[in-house]
Symmetry: C2
């Protein structure tokens, strides 16, 4: 099997792939320093690991399997893949980012709830003020939480918060287990939320879902966390809410512009913690991605159904 | 019943006590602005809520019940209370601080593990560096954790960390459920710990337990959290470990000196987060303390066993 390796790898992860794909021809590309011949090398492969440019994929209808190195894949929208690539199977990395993303969501929430947003600057000024900090601290225990999205990250966040004693409701239009099934019910629930967490992909439906009107339904003690996609939120409205105290705090892992430009107003927005799209990552992530690809490749070889099949059309 | 109210209260908590202790004579003292007659007023009461000075207690052998407003009570050590106050029952607030203390312990851990210690200063400098942060981030999932102490806070921390997927062992010489039962076993376990959490009271046994030799048994990727009492740790050895990178990070809620003096080296110690003895607190804590006292007072009135009986001699 000719495999095109376009995913970001380090030496350890690359060695793991080499050691576990001994009978394959591995064709490596450095996505950060592409060479003119790389697309032709891709065209010669039937399997690809990594999010190759959409135009490369459009010009290679014989590709059999594309293993994405991400969960989201909005950059492939806008092409009728099912018509031009009828035999292509696409899989994503759903599950690989669950623990890191959920842990960063909880880390960011606790940063505000337990007063670390006050303690860190107090430490920089040698300022002892435990009673002031205690008076401004809250608890996750007993908090009312709404999680937008019931995918694997949203489920993982939910399990963690339930362990803290939070009362959690999930929003999903598709999942029968979700307590909140449509936007009317969501609007009715938002005024009682202490915490709202976005774990949704970017689609035409989620774009701008947290608009000015909906953000204003949250009570002033509420915290907002977004670890899905930045397109979910009206960012100007969010900044105004945080600046005026209409919202207590926000943790954004994702933003409409990434990288966030150096002069972007988010950098200095009060009561905002930017986690810089680091939530899905950890020092072990490249190895974890490589392990997932190898496990799925065993299925490809054996002809058993691949894990994490997705539809490039539908966006999930 | 004459009740002496020496606990710190706010208007809401005081109103709650008045509303729920209508048949009692309430004698309020402002512990932050004591008057000369306050000790005599205390002597006239049979019940006290709040940690009155040890010398007041020594001079009032007729007190029937002292409800402490804390869990720890090391300031009453050094007196043979069982001989001089044979009819005194003492209860503490075990349980009231479990959630806040455990949440701050997890908040502080996640601050380091998920790279918020890098993200917060990066935000102050408008510096976008997700890949650098991802490469330096870890996960609580699968971490090897040792918790010193198996009281109610230690158990609560354990439950939270197990929800994250940590593998937790508890150290207790007394509790049969603890996996680590003596210091020899602890020393053998420390080299494999990713996280060590102190949840021990101050006693002659715990004083200096984490001495230089024992701290050096931790591996360099380990994090140390202390939400028990500051006397547990050799603080000079800890500072050296954090400064030299012999230990990856520490979260101290408690220190040997509190308040921490303005010129104390801890303020500027690298890889150290000071939570300033705020871990047990929250904006709802005074109300929670008042509620516990009223619930225990109902038992006192009814002659049923009081909750949370402790021995001032034994220190737990």
């Amino acid at each position: 099997v000719n495999i095109f390796l376009y995913a970001l790898m380090d030496a350890g992860a690359a060695a793991f792939l080499r050691g576990n794909l001994e009978n394959c021809s591995l064709h490596w590309a450095d996505k950060l320093a592409l060479r003119p011949e790389d697309e032709a090398r891709f065209q010669a492969c039937s399997v690809c690991f990594g999010n190759v440019p959409a135009k490369w994929l459009a010009r290679h209808p014989r590709l059999e399997w594309l293993q994405l190195e991400s969960v989201g894949f909005e950059y492939y929208h806008g092409h009728e893949w099912s018509l031009t690539h009828p035999n292509l199977r696409v899989t994503n990395l759903r599950g690989v980012f669950d623990s890191p993303a959920a842990e960063t969501a909880v880390a960011g929430l606790l940063h505000f709830v337990r007063g670390l947003n006050l303690l860190v600057p107090a430490q920089a000024h040698n300022a002892w003020d435990p009673s002031g900090i205690r008076a401004q601290s809250g608890l996750l225990a007993d908090a009312q939480v709404i999680i937008l999205g019931f995918g694997s990250v949203g489920r993982r966040v939910r399990r963690l918060l339930e362990a803290f004693g939070c009362s959690v409701r999930s929003f999903s239009r598709r999942d029968p287990e979700a307590e909140i099934k449509d936007r009317t019910a969501l609007d009715a629930a938002l005024p009682s939320a202490d915490v709202l967490i976005g774990c949704l992909p970017h689609t035409s439906e989620t774009e701008g879902m947290l608009d000015r009107r909906r953000l204003a339904l949250l009570p002033p003690q509420a915290y907002l966390v977004n670890i899905g996609r930045g397109s979910l939120i009206d960012e100007a409205a969010l900044r105004e809410s945080l600046t005026s105290g209409r919202l207590r705090g926000a943790v954004l892992d994702v933003t409409r512009e990434e990288p966030i430009p150096e002069d972007h107003p988010f950098w200095t927005c009060p009561n905002l913690l930017l986690t810089q799209h680091s939530a899905g990552g950890s020092s072990g992530e490249l190895r974890a991605k490589a392990q997932f690809f190898v496990a799925n490749f065993r299925r490809y070889e054996a002809g058993t159904p691949l894990l994490n099949l997705v539809s490039l059309q539908q966006g999930y």
